[in-house]
């Protein structure tokens, strides 16, 4: 993501109340032109409300929403340069596919033939050429999704809003559509804003992700930064899995932090790249992802450090095996994920094993 891209959407301290319920609690963020941006969070975190404030379906209680530099407070939904793909797709069931896709062109001054051509182009873009004459209510879920996309994109909006568009599709179809949406976004170059509760979907598709909890943005970063260096343990746990070990800071200075972590002993961490979160008094926590530590099978040696552990739980997934291991000197099991490469055994519960890890893969939460 280059930094010279202009700002498409800007939220300045946006609050939204429903009666006494504080749905959005001071959202401040910018979304750049042409980026694939995701709002990620559990249900009820305000992500859909935030999306609907962009579309104009939801007013805000205080703050400012700017689209392409313009305050949109007084612009109704039907005049905003945004179009939306609804969670239910909202395909008009009494119209044909072509009538659905061309619905937004009703006030377009172009000739009927030009409009028909635009509809055909839009349908071709989503891979539905030749479907124009079909009745909309007879389409499959995946096809409805595509019609909804074609209908929104035909108006060439500055921003395309997607409200959990893939949640109703089955897993295979969903994964295909994820790839197609990324391609489509690159092709049209329009800013896409996706609302999703599926962290994997957000990681796969987005240039940047805003993780939301309880009406606030907990972290706004690239997928890689979010995964590698989450700001809080809540973000870390929402995006993938993270193991946590209680730790205490021994010394700080010169860009280094030395900590004593339960089970791992003394570790030196890079203060810029590995230490995250807001400084708070009391205990710190050291975290690591399941795939960054490894069970050392016979004959294998650690790349950096190793600790003895006992296998407490084994979950076999075919290509992967998940182990819950209790590191010596700790009280809660850690989750490890091991790829089942050829010739590698699956350990039994109760097995004593060595666990290899590297201090470079650790993250510390203050």
């Amino acid at each position: 993501m280059s930094s010279d891209k202009s700002t498409m959407i800007e939220f300045k301290d946006v609050h939204k109340y429903y009666g006494d319920y504080h749905a959005l609690r001071g959202i401040t963020a910018t979304i750049k032109a042409g980026e694939f941006f995701s709002l990620l969070g559990p249900s009820g975190c305000g992500k859909t409300t935030l999306l609907r404030t962009i579309a104009g379906f939801e007013g805000i209680s205080s703050g400012v929403v700017l689209i392409d530099g313009k305050d949109v407070a007084s612009i109704p939904a039907n005049q905003r340069p945004t179009n939306m793909v609804f969670q239910s797709y909202a395909i008009f069931p009494h119209l044909t596919v072509a009538q659905n896709v061309g619905f937004g062109l009703r006030k377009d001054p172009r000739s009927a033939a030009d409009k028909a051509r635009a509809v055909d182009e839009s349908l071709a873009m989503v891979g539905l050429s030749g479907f124009g004459a079909r009745a909309a209510h007879a389409l499959s879920g995946g096809q409805r999704q595509r019609v909804a996309l074609a209908r929104a994109l035909i108006l060439k909006p500055k921003v395309l809003l997607l409200d959990e568009p893939l949640s109703a599709l089955d897993k295979k179809l969903r994964e295909n559509m994820q790839v197609e949406l990324i391609k489509l976004q690159r092709q049209v170059g329009i800013t896409f804003i996706l609302v999703t509760h599926d962290q994997e979907e957000a990681l796969v598709m987005s240039d940047r992700i805003a993780v939301m909890f309880e009406g606030q943005i907990a972290q706004l970063d690239s997928p890689e930064t979010l995964y590698r260096l989450p700001k809080t343990s809540a973000v870390a746990n929402f995006i993938g899995t993270m193991n946590f070990l209680p730790a205490s800071i021994i010394s700080e200075g010169g860009g280094k932090v030395e900590v004593e972590a339960q089970g791992f002993g003394r570790i030196v961490l890079d203060a810029d790249k590995q230490v995250t979160g807001v400084a708070s008094p009391g205990g710190a926590t050291v975290g690591f992802r399941p795939e960054t530590a490894t069970i050392l099978f016979e004959g294998q040696s650690a790349t950096d450090r190793e600790t003895m552990a006992t296998v407490e739980e084994v979950v076999y997934y075919g290509d992967m095996t998940y182990y819950d291991v209790l590191l010596d000197g700790t009280s809660a099991p850690m989750r490890l994920s091991m790829r089942n490469v050829f010739g590698r055994p699956v350990l039994d519960i109760g097995t004593r094993t060595r666990v290899g890890w590297s201090s470079g893969a650790l993250v510390m939460f203050r």
Binding site: G56, F57, N78, N83, M84, F86, S88, R106
Partner: protein, 268 residues
């Protein structure tokens, strides 16, 4: 041997309910002015009488006028009420809807009497219009019931999608909402028409003497020689009522199929 109690009960229940109606067409074609068994022979004389009776013709015209006006007004009011109750949440929306639906369960004779007293004390002259007034009161709850189900099965995001694509509230209603609830509107038009057509109590209380079908039939029953005519007229009315109700149900179901909504129960 096990006695099929429930089966016997069901069959006798249905017979009790529908046998009298089956009697109607039987005697309508019976060649005897006495409504009694044994049957005499086949005739269409009574139907001829029905079609050639000038007073009956006037009663039919009046009834069709009253029923048409009632159907249109009730469907219109029902559309507004159903739209308001499904689209907006407002204080007292519950009690308000209950008040609108109340005439469905209120004894009609009480309503008719109350209306009569009010109209007379206001100095309103009784006419076909006062009957229409009463019929709208009776029919609107049915229209509301049908249309509420039609509006409820509308996905709210359809409306938002239309706004999102540049339409205003009026054009959204015309282009999206109206076509989707149209089957419900047609169905409530037909039901209200049917109810009004054979309604007696309100027509009897609030009329000024112009005959309606129902009051005409009631008047004729006093003269034994007219009874076969009434049988013929009754046969026609039953046939028309069943046809209209079936049409109403057809449109209601087609509306559900169109929007892909779940069937939440109808009148047939």
């Amino acid at each position: 041997m096990k006695i099929p109690v429930l089966r016997i009960y069901t069959i006798s229940y249905l017979m009790f309910l529908y046998c009298p109606i089956i009697i109607l067409p039987i005697f309508a074609f019976n060649n005897s002015s006495a409504v009694a068994f044994p049957l005499q022979g086949f005739t269409t004389e009574w139907f001829h009488n029905v079609f050639n009776d000038a007073v009956l013709g006037q009663a039919l015209k009046n009834s069709l006028f009253v029923a048409s006006c009632t159907a249109v007004l009730s469907a219109l009011l029902g559309t507004l009420a159903a739209r308001a109750s499904t689209r907006y949440t407002f204080k007292a929306s519950g009690p308000l809807m209950a008040l609108i639906m109340l005439p469905m369960v209120l004894p009609e004779i009480i309503m008719a009497m109350a209306l009569l007293v009010v109209l007379l004390s206001l100095g309103v002259r009784l006419s076909l219009f006062t009957i229409i007034l009463g019929h709208v009161l009776v029919c609107t709850p049915f229209a509301v019931a049908i249309l509420t189900s039609a509006f409820q099965s509308l996905d709210k995001s359809l409306e938002e999608a239309a706004y999102d694509l540049g339409e205003g509230p009026v054009s959204t209603f015309r282009l999206i909402i109206l076509p989707l609830v149209m089957p419900g509107i047609i169905s409530s038009l037909l039901i209200c028409f049917t109810i009004s057509l054979d309604e007696f109590i309100v027509a009897n209380f609030l009329g000024s003497g112009e005959p309606l079908l129902s009051t005409f039939i009631y008047g004729q029953l006093r003269f034994p020689k007219y009874v076969p005519n009434i049988m013929a007229l009754g046969t026609i009315l039953v046939a028309v009522s069943i046809t209209l109700l079936a049409l109403a149900e057809f449109f209601r179901r087609r509306g559900l199929a169109k929007t892909g909504a779940k069937d939440t129960g109808g009148f047939l």
